[in-house]
Symmetry: C2
Subunit: 421 residues, 2 copies
């Protein structure tokens, strides 16, 4: 069995590589035509896809999977429509491929520039949500990449049904069906193969819990665009305008809890702590946010605030809990953020120009903000059109990753007979 999975994955990889050669030079028109054909095919398969999802849901119910997972797994007619709307958005996105920039003459007489090209083959590994199947497939196609999809075993029927419609659409458009392949086995050995076939796969994009992503990163032989955790900070500096600090600190924590760009630790300068903390604590109390504070916070807010442990400073709560610390100034705030944070998104609230400038230079995070809520760190808010994920890496892509994250640039040289002297 093990060997046949290896053979199966080798075949999948080879087919993806071949398909990517066709897709990489396909015109924008061809790619959009294929995406439209997929739209039609999905529309015609709604009943079949929802029926397949029903099977997955029934199985998940009888396996007693938890309610959060059941919620992510379910495809309602409304979600199905949302999925198709997302596809329409991708059709409307600008095609990044083929763009030539920075074309300039060199002293030798050659003209040198950079051309944007697809990465080649993308491997996507994700859990439960079947709409990721279409989202990932459409972004890959738009950016000229073949894609191999490995969803969770609990969503196998749904993913296969979506993939069947996608492949039907590809077929009618003349592009190889193997541009999009869904792994048809729940065997974990398939993932092991996928993340090590560096001859066939150019990048792995995992979506899921931190555990999954760490496992994949550790075992991969292919570059991984990884999104680990989001332990984001807001630092209310001594010269903060509290009329800005209060709504930002409230928004960053309570706008949505289960998201990676939510604030998890609030840092407050000792010079404004006595004034600021009671006011923000009142707002958090209205939203039932639990505070865990350092000794100074407890002194100011009272001892019914829980004590923050060392672990709390590292924690990504993803819920209505907030760690709060009083700091002596910029240096302590920045040291805290660079040590305990996850280099995702951190903000300073201050009216002091020089301190803002220092914060910008010294905080080592994928998004650094001045007087704005961490919740803005998002592909749509950043105007990327679509979001492949949010990268916590520094290599290749950092922060919110749009279509460009699935592309690379090659050098192009135009000459009329130049030789090297």
């Amino acid at each position: 069995m093990q060997e046949s999975i290896e053979q199966y994955m080798q075949t999948v990889g080879q087919q993806a590589r071949q398909a990517s050669r066709v897709l990489s030079s396909a015109s924008t028109e061809t790619k959009n035509h294929a995406l439209s054909a997929i739209y039609t095919a999905l529309n015609n398969s709604e009943a079949a896809i929802l029926a397949a999802n029903k099977k997955d849901m029934d199985k998940a119910h009888s396996s007693n999977l938890d309610s959060a997972l059941l919620d992510r797994l379910e495809l309602t007619p409304a979600r199905f429509k949302g999925m198709l709307d997302g596809l329409k958005d991708v059709i409307g996105l600008k095609d990044p491929i083929g763009e030539i920039t920075d074309m300039a003459y060199r002293p030798s007489g050659i003209q040198l520039g950079k051309m944007r090209v697809p990465l080649g083959v993308v491997g996507m590994i994700y859990e439960s949500r079947p709409n990721v199947t279409l989202e990932a497939a459409s972004l890959a196609l738009k950016s000229g990449n073949a894609i191999i999809l490995r969803g969770g075993s609990e969503a196998l029927e749904s993913n296969q049904a979506i993939a069947a419609a996608v492949q039907h659409g590809l077929k009618t458009s003349g592009l190889p069906e193997t541009c999009v392949q869904v792994i048809n086995t729940p065997d974990r050995a398939a993932v092991g193969q996928l993340i090590t076939m560096s001859e066939y796969v150019d990048v792995i994009v995992p979506r899921g819990g931190k555990g999954l992503i760490e496992r994949i990163s550790n075992d991969a032989r292919v570059p991984v665009i990884k999104h680990l955790d989001g332990n984001c900070h807001v630092y209310v500096e001594a010269q903060a305008d509290l009329q800005k600090a209060l709504p930002i600190a409230l928004n960053a924590k309570t706008h949505r809890y289960g998201v990676c760009n939510a604030m998890e630790t609030l840092l407050v300068d000792e010079k404004v702590a006595d004034e600021f903390l009671p006011r923000i604590a009142e707002l958090y109390a209205q939203k039932q946010v639990e505070l865990r504070g350092c000794k100074d916070v407890q002194r100011i807010l009272g001892s019914d605030v829980k004590t923050a442990s060392e672990e709390d400073w590292y924690e990504e709560y993803l819920g209505p809990i907030l760690a709060v610390k009083v700091v002596s100034g910029m240096d302590e705030a920045i040291d805290h953020i660079n040590k305990y944070g996850s280099h995702h998104t951190d903000a300073i609230i201050t009216e002091n120009f020089s301190l803002a400038r220092q914060f910008l230079a010294r905080v080592d995070s994928s998004s650094v903000m001045i007087n704005a809520s961490t919740r803005f760190a998002d592909g749509f808010e950043y105007g990327l059109g679509a979001e492949i994920g949010i990268s916590t890496d520094k290599i290749h892509a950092r922060g919110p990753v749009g279509l460009e994250g699935l592309t690379s640039q090659k050098w192009v040289v135009f000459g009329d007979g130049q030789i090297r002297q």
Copy 2:
């Protein structure tokens, strides 16, 4: 012993990470001041460094190392001067760090842009040439990165002597000496540690033979900017201007043999083969270049041309040997290049606009050229000022890599109290 190397490398890693925090926000002035202090220190240590190199050379002679390696290992007074000149060039380079680009307002009212930042800690692994120690250290410092250097054991004395001068320079400038660290043990376990300490090292840059680089890439847990081989092609298309094709084909092969951007296979369209091949063969004969051809080449040039085997199409000769193939047209040429090539640099010679445009889109190489010699694929010819290496990867950096290859970009957001709606 094994354990103590692990401890030693952990300490080196921690120190590098700490140093990188200081260095990442050091001003251009501070960094250039440190580089100037290093220049002075090296100048004052010339005798000591050349004496250390003499020790390495003596040892290498008595170990019967081959003459090519001895040549790379040797530091003559002229080479020492060249090394210092290179350092001066780095001082003159534009500091890439801190540059903010694409700053624009978003509909939410935030102002969004990208700021160029150092990667953090660079691990450099290289062989024999001791001048790489200074070159790598100076490029890392200029781009705000701490660096850990692991040279070949045959150059240990030379590298330690250069490092001592570098650290002396750092000390007088006020930057941490641990910005540049040279591994002081020849034990290979140190490399194994270096390429897996992902908490302390952000990128590995190997320089050396393909074997070394493949080994490192396979075992690394840290991203690697790798340069494998350069199997470059020139395709003389049917509508080529032979007055351009002849000098380019000659230059690409014979300008220098042992370099990665030299042509290794010449592809000639069957419609011009009868005219072009005898003329270029005559030029190659004057340079004693050995030809290995397909049947058609042998038919045209005579049977004393050796037969090219399947392996020849994959080969990077790095010497006066050239594989030559007659192809039926664009499709066969592109398929050949994408299959046998190393995705380094490939050129088409043609006057046909549409075919040139197709070649540009369909050849999957880090540099694609029209009517120019492959020898132009070079950091200096491309105007990058300095060259960290040439990447054959698609992720992060592709083709000639300058200072920018040691940097990343973070998002910066300016607001005046914006919260997410």
